[in-house]
Amino acid sequence: MTTRALILGSTSAIAGAMARELAAEGADLTLVARNPQRNRMVADDLRARGAATVREIVADLGDPASHQAVLAEAMQGAGGIDLTLLAYGVLPTQERCETDINRLLEQFRVNATSAMALLARLAPLMAARGGGQIGVLSSVAGDRGRRSNYAYGAAKAALTTFGAGLGARYQGDGVTVTVIRLGFVRSPMTEGLTLPSPLMSSPEAVAPAILKAIRRGLPTAYIPRRWWLVMSILRHLPEGLFRKLDL
C-alpha cells in the first residue's frame, strides 16, 4: 500500500532525508515549504528517486492563518494522509533572544504556537478519515531548561508536552503522535555552532530511525538512541548540580 505522506517543512535537511526514504518506497508525497524554488528542487529530486507523486504547496506554516487551506489542499490532493511529519522550525541565537524580546517571541510563535495550532487542526482531520501517524520533530533541548538554549528549549518543551497530550487524546481514534526528541544533527540549521562532534549525527543517519519510530506508533523516541541515556541522567540531576555542569 502506498504511503501518502505530508511533509511540513520539506526544504529542511532532516525532512529532506526522510522524504528520500519515503520516495525510495514509492510513496505519494505532499511537500509544504515557504520557498517555492527550493521546494521545486526537492520535489524534482524526489520524483527522480521514485516517489509515485509529489505535490508542492507553498505556505508559511509559522502563520496559523495558512493552516486550514494547506491541510484542506493536502487532504484533497492525496485523498487522505497516512503519515504527517512536522519538521519546520527555526533555531534562534540564544544571545539574541535574551536582548531582543521580539525575536524571543517570534521563535516561540513559529516553533511552538503555530505548531500546536497546526496539530490541533490536523489530528481531528486524520481521525475523521480513519486514523494515521503524526511525527513531530522536537528536541532534547525541550527536556530541561539549559542556560545555552532555553528560548528554543522552551518552545520545544511546549511542543513535546502538547504532542504527548495530543497523542493521548487521539489514540482511541487511530491517530498516533510520535514526539521525536532529536539530539544534535549536522544541518544548515546547526551550521556554525560549536557542538561536540562525538554527539553529532547527520540527517541521513537519523531519518530511517525517525521513520521507524513513527511507523511503530511510539509515543516518544530519542534519536539517536544514545540520547535516551544522556537525557535520563541529565533530566534527573538536582538543579544545583545541573547548573554546575554549565550546559
Binding site: 524554488q37 527550493r38 528542487m41 524534482d44 529530486d45 527522480a48 528517486r49 544548515p188 551550521e191
Partner: protein, 427 residues
Amino acid sequence: MRPVPSNPNPSTGGTKSAPPSRRGAETGTQTLAFGNGRSYGDSCLSTSDRVLHTRGLDHVLAVDWSTGVIRAEAGMTLGELIALSLPRGWFPAVTPGTQFVTLGGAVANDVHGKNHHRQGSFGDHVLALGLYRSETGHHELRDPNDELLRATIGGLGLTGLIDSVELQLRRVPGMLMESHTQRFGSLGRFLALSRELDAVHEYVVGWVDCLAGACATGRGLLHAGDHSAGGKTRNRPNTARVRVPFTPPISMIRGWNVRWFNALVYHRPRRTRASRWQPLQRFLYPLDHIGDWNRLYGPAGLLQLQCVVPEQEAERALSELLGRVRRAGTGSTLAVLKRFGDHWSRGLVGFPRPGVTLALDFPRRATSDRLIRDLNALVHEAGGRLYPAKDATMTGEQFRAGYPAWERLEALRDPALLSRFWQRVMT
C-alpha cells in the same frame, strides 16, 4: 592522504550556497570547491583555509529513465547516482576505481576507468555543465566546442564552481559482471595480452607485482570483465564495509609484507583463465569496501604516482620504472597497469591520452620521496605525463611539458579560485 579542509565554508545548496566571490580574489584569499576529497595530493586543496564544500549540492535536478540522461547537482557522488540508476538498468559509461567521487570531481579530473579503450573518459559523456564564475555568474555549458567547457573538463575546479552535471548513462543488463583473470609473466606479455583482450572485453586492467625479482619483473594478473545479464554469485556488492578504525603508529605496508602479499596474489587464480561472476561494484571498486584504507599507511600516509606514457615508449620506460621500484624495495601492493584507448581527453589539461598508464602507491618516507621524484623525471623524459588527481610531487616544468594547453586554462581560471596544486605547478 585524505585532506581535511579546515574552516570549511559550506555551500549547503540552492539559495544558501556561498559561491566564489570577487572579493576573495581581491583580498588574496582564493578558495576552491571541495567535493569528497578523494584526490590524493593537493589538487583539491585550497590555498587559503576557505573551501566551498559542495556535498550539500546533492539533488537530482532532472532525469529521464527511458533515455538515461540525468542532470544532478555536482556534489552528488557517483555511488549515490549508481544507487538510483543501477536498479533501473543504467550505469555511468565511465567510472573511476572508487564510487566515492563527486560528479564535480569526476568532471574536474576527467576521470577514467578500466574501460577507457571502449568508452574514453568521464568528460566524453558529459552533455552539459552548470558553472558558476565569480565575475560572470552562472553559465550553462553545452556546446562541445566551447573553450570554457573544454577548460572545465579536467580543469581541476579552477574555471569556476561546477554546480550541476548532465550525463548520458549507459544501459547495463544487470547488476553483475562476468570476469576472468589471467597471469602474465612480463611487461611485454602484458602489452600483447591486453591488446588481445581490449578487442573483446569492456573492462581490462592489469595488476603488476612491482617487487618481484629479476626474472619475474613485470609479472602480474590481467583482469577482464563485462556486464552480464545473467549469472549468480554469493558475493554481495561491497556495501557492508569494514573500516580501519584508527591510524597505526607506523605504516603497515612494508617491503617484506608487500613482497609476500604480492606473491600470494599472483599465484591465487587457480587456472590460467579463471572466470566468475561478481557484483559489478566488487570488480570496479576493489578498495571501496575497506573504509579508511589509507590509514594502513600510517601517519605519514602515502604518495601515489600515476603516469601515462606513449605506446612506443611504454615497454622500455615502464620496465625501467618498475626496475627502479624493485631496486628501491619500497613497494606498494597497488600497481595498476592499463592500456588506454586511442583517444585524447576533451579537456585542455585532461590526463587521459593514448598510451599505457601505470599507477603506484608508496608508503611515504624519505626513500620513497626521492624515488617518486626520480620516477617523475623518467616519465617526463619518455614524453609522458602525470595525473594531477594523484600527484603531490611533480615539478612545474614537468606539468607544463605534459600539458601544453595549460596556458589556456590559466587564462580561463576564475581569479577567485586557486588550488595548491596549481600554485605549485605554475612556478
